[in-house]
């Protein structure tokens, strides 16, 4: 019982909110976070796609090690890493079981490991990049590479609303608890209680949708008065916004360093 309580403390809506916000905004002072978003885009373009076409295990392992280092440098939240590991192990494990079930043997293990390493490299690269850019930086970066203003604004606004929405969800969820009736008995393996919570967790989304629709009305009006439409249609606004964005020496150094490392991997291994 004590363990379940501790676990549920970690899993509270409050906690999820804190982790999400910290992942989004909390890593502003790392080396990677100070790079220009375009550098990170380029870097990600390579490490997010290229591993699919490499079959040399040692090169993959080398890249994996590099990704572990960058993930460490980016100070990614442990929760995210935990979820990632869970996902990768689940994926690999399930494929292994399926292959064994359909008459395969342990020789399937090696190709599965290769796949898992590829997936890890790509996932870690994504985590590194997206944890190092807060939503505003990401949205400015997208704007710079000619994504429409509406799209880049939506990203930054989405994050602005995230804590509000989570809080509201939490309130609705609590209202269900304050008026509802929990099962008298927990049932075998807490099945009844779990069922009850899953049910209200889902039901809580409906009121949230309705109230969000209502909020959106004010927001859209306010955006209109704050000149967002004007801004999206006038290129000088975009110039003004992105005036501070410059590729600096460390951007080039990072890109050159990464390329040298990858080239090195191919030559030496």
């Amino acid at each position: 019982m004590e363990y379940t309580r501790k676990f549920s403390d970690k899993l509270s809506v409050e906690q999820v909110k804190i982790e999400l916000l910290n992942t989004a905004y909390g890593n502003g002072d790392t080396f990677l976070a100070k790079l220009d978003p375009r550098t990170l885009f380029l870097w990600y373009l390579f490490f997010g796609i290229f591993p699919w076409f490499i079959h040399n295990v040692s090169v993959l392992v080398g890249m994996f090690i590099f990704m572990v280092v960058t993930t460490y440098v980016a100070k990614v939240s442990p929760l995210i890493i935990f979820i990632l590991c869970l996902g990768l192990l689940g994926q690999g494990g399930y494929l292994l079981i399926v292959s064994l079930f359909f008459g395969g043997d342990l020789s399937a293990l090696l190709p599965l490991l290769v796949l898992t390493i590829k997936l890890s490299v790509i996932s870690l690269a994504s985590i590194t990049v997206f944890c190092s850019m807060n939503p505003d930086k990401l949205s400015d970066g997208l704007l710079k590479i000619k994504v429409p203003g509406q799209v880049s604004f939506s990203i930054s606004y989405g994050y602005r609303m995230l804590p509000t929405l989570l809080e509201e969800y939490h309130h609705v969820f609590q209202s269900f608890r304050l008026r509802g009736k929990a099962p008298e008995k927990h049932g075998f393996l807490y099945i009844k209680t779990i069922g009850y919570f899953v049910k209200i967790a889902m039901l809580s989304f409906y009121p949230l949708l309705l109230s969000t629709a209502k909020r959106a009305r004010t927001t859209v009006e306010a955006l209109e008065t704050k000149g967002s439409m004007y801004g999206f249609n006038h290129p000088e606004v975009k110039r003004l916004k992105l005036a501070g964005m410059k590729m600096k020496r460390k951007d080039y150094l990072f890109l050159v360093g990464s390329s040298l490392y990858v080239v090195g991997l191919f030559l030496l291994l």
């Binding site: 509802g180 109230s211 909020r215 704050k226």
Partner: protein
């Protein structure tokens, strides 16, 4: 002086509505004015304000007739974007108006998107004007409610508009913070020459700050008068469900015929200084049966930066049967946390809360719900179904209460919601929402009822209605706790007052011990009802707490002194 705003014969009907919200409105406002718009819920106040920044007719394409000129711009010929630089609008639900994650960014948003190169300076200047410069790098979700309101105002000020409209600026604020925002508006008006328009229910603020008053009813402007004259129209105001300042009501009630005072200073010469009739101080019943007790309770929560914030420090308190408690103190004093601990939704960090002798640590909120009802500050957060009727029946249906349908019907009747039974609760007006949330609460047949700010955001008639309902509930409930900034409610309702300050209980007494303790009031940021301060200024030893009490004791004095004999 030139007309700054000129509304001529304007009629407007929202698309899909059956009646126009504005009906042949004529109104002009001069530059540098400070106007308060009064009117009951649904009288068209907000719609009127949306005419001025062009949202009507450009954004809401309903049936529009007439002409609106703002700062010599005809709103039909100019876009929202042009008009917004002249007219700044702060919404009632201002929180949804904040669109960026960081404070400074939000303040800069408008000038940046209008392509003004000095957008950062503008944002900073606006933040300085409202006193938020220190938190410019904070995230908006770290701000308190009052700070968010100031930020919404700053975001509007960054465009340096000539006209500022602010919809219910103090609805959710404690008296100290409310004064802060009005003082800022006053400075903007007097020092920077802005035209200020507020929509306001609190006539005491109107009396102290506004220059002119516009009264609206059913889409019409009933009158526009200088503030003193306007607030003197007591009968007309009351007919529109607006209560003039207490001092004005008191003067009217004791039969002052010529001009009625609207502030304490004006009132002093009106009333003679003869001593009043003595007050009968009622002592509350002996306290025998404890129903809730707090034992050395500490409570904290984690903030986004992963620190712990301690909200309650070492609370010891017992609540007895027959207690009608008002919980008062500034925003952030820990009032809501104090109440939520009784619901079992949150558990104390250390110490224990006992409800009917059982530790809340051992009880789930679902279990406690059978004894305790918590009415949320924002009624919308209590609506979990898609219509009023289903929301009210939810608790009883889940518990398979016998004949629950007839009980639901009865509740809907009692709270005047029968006609609204199939409406979505979220789309009701503020007062209706409040009634619905109370109906939900009463439907749970609680022993203890907890109410968080039950009278915030209400026009006075709805407020009276709610107070009456609360009084009626006293018989069926063992104890009531009301957290509120509304000192009139405190004086009328409570037999015990608990004052909280920075997570501690700093006083536990009744209205005599609270309001006559000047240092306590100052420390906790409480402002007594106007009639109380006034009778104190008159030198009464036992000040009056309500207008009715004042009138009885003031006139009783005349009888006692043989004036009418």
């Amino acid at each position: 002086m030139t007309k700054h705003i000129d509304i001529k014969n304007v009629t407007f009907q929202y698309p899909g509505a059956t009646e126009p919200v504005l009906n042949n409105v004529n109104l002009s406002i001069e530059k540098g004015d400070f106007v308060a718009i009064l009117g009951g819920n649904g009288s068209g106040k907000s719609t009127l304000c949306k005419l001025l920044n062009g949202l009507i007719p450009h954004y809401y394409v309903g049936d529009f007739a007439g002409e609106v000129t703002v700062n010599n711009l005809n709103t039909l010929d100019h876009k929202v974007a042009d008009l917004s630089r002249t007219v700044g609008y702060v919404y009632q639900d201002f929180e949804n108006q904040i669109v960026s994650p960081r404070v400074l960014e939000d303040a800069c948003f408008a000038p940046l998107h209008y392509g003004l190169a000095d957008y950062r300076e503008r944002g900073l200047r606006a933040l300085q004007l409202v006193g938020l410069a220190e938190v410019k790098n904070a995230f908006v979700w770290q701000l308190s409610g009052g700070q968010k309101h100031l930020l919404a105002l700053a975001s509007v000020l960054s465009l340096n508009p000539e006209i500022i409209i602010i919809d219910e600026p103090v609805a959710q604020l404690d008296p100290q913070h409310a004064k802060v925002i009005y003082d800022i508006l006053k400075e903007l008006n007097e020092v920077h020459g802005k035209t200020i328009i507020v929509i306001e229910h609190h006539t005491e603020f109107v009396a102290s700050y506004a220059k002119n008053v516009v009264l609206m009813e059913k889409g019409n402007v009933t009158f526009k008068l200088p503030v003193k004259e306007a607030l003197n129209q007591v009968d007309i105001l009351l007919a529109h469900q607006i209560y003039p300042p207490q001092i004005t009501q008191a003067a009217k009630m004791i039969g002052v015929i010529d001009s009625l005072p609207i502030t304490i200073e004006e009132g002093l010469p009106t009333f003679s200084e003869l001593g009043p009739l003595e007050a009968h101080i009622k002592h509350s019943a002996s306290k025998l049966n404890p129903i809730v007790s707090y034992e050395k309770v500490n409570f904290s929560y984690k903030t986004v930066s992963r620190d712990k914030k301690q909200v309650l420090h070492d609370i010891n308190c017992t609540i007895y049967e027959g207690d009608y408690i008002a919980l008062v103190g500034n925003n952030g004093a820990g009032k809501s946390s104090f109440m939520r601990l009784i619901t079992g939704l949150v558990k104390p960090g250390s110490g224990d809360v006992l409800v009917d002798g059982t530790n809340t640590r051992k009880l789930s909120p679902e279990h406690l719900a059978e004894k305790v009802t918590y009415i949320h500050q924002n009624p919308e957060q209590m609506f979990i179904e898609d219509c009023v009727d289903k929301d009210v029946e939810f608790f009883m249906k889940a518990r398979k209460v016998k004949n629950y349908r007839s009980k639901v019907e009865q509740l809907l009747e009692q709270f005047e919601l029968t006609n609204l039974a199939d409406h979505d609760s979220r789309l009701l007006s503020g007062g209706q929402q409040r009634r619905a949330s109370l109906a939900i609460g009463v439907g749970m047949h609680p022993e203890i009822m907890l109410l968080d700010e039950p009278t915030a955001n209400l026009d006075i008639s709805t407020r009276k209605h709610i107070t009456r309902l609360l009084d009626g509930l006293k018989d069926t409930l063992k104890a009531v706790i009301v957290a509120t900034h509304d000192m009139q409610l405190v004086c009328e309702f409570a037999n015990r007052i608990i004052v909280m300050h920075e997570g501690r209980i700093i006083h536990d007494g009744d209205r005599e011990s609270v309001f006559q303790n000047y240092r306590l009031l100052e420390k906790a940021g409480l402002v007594p009802p106007q009639i109380f301060s006034f009778t104190q200024s008159l030198g009464w030893d036992q000040p009056a707490y309500t207008v009715e009490e004042f009138a009885i004791r003031y006139q009783g004095r005349d009888v006692a002194n043989g004036v009418y004999a």
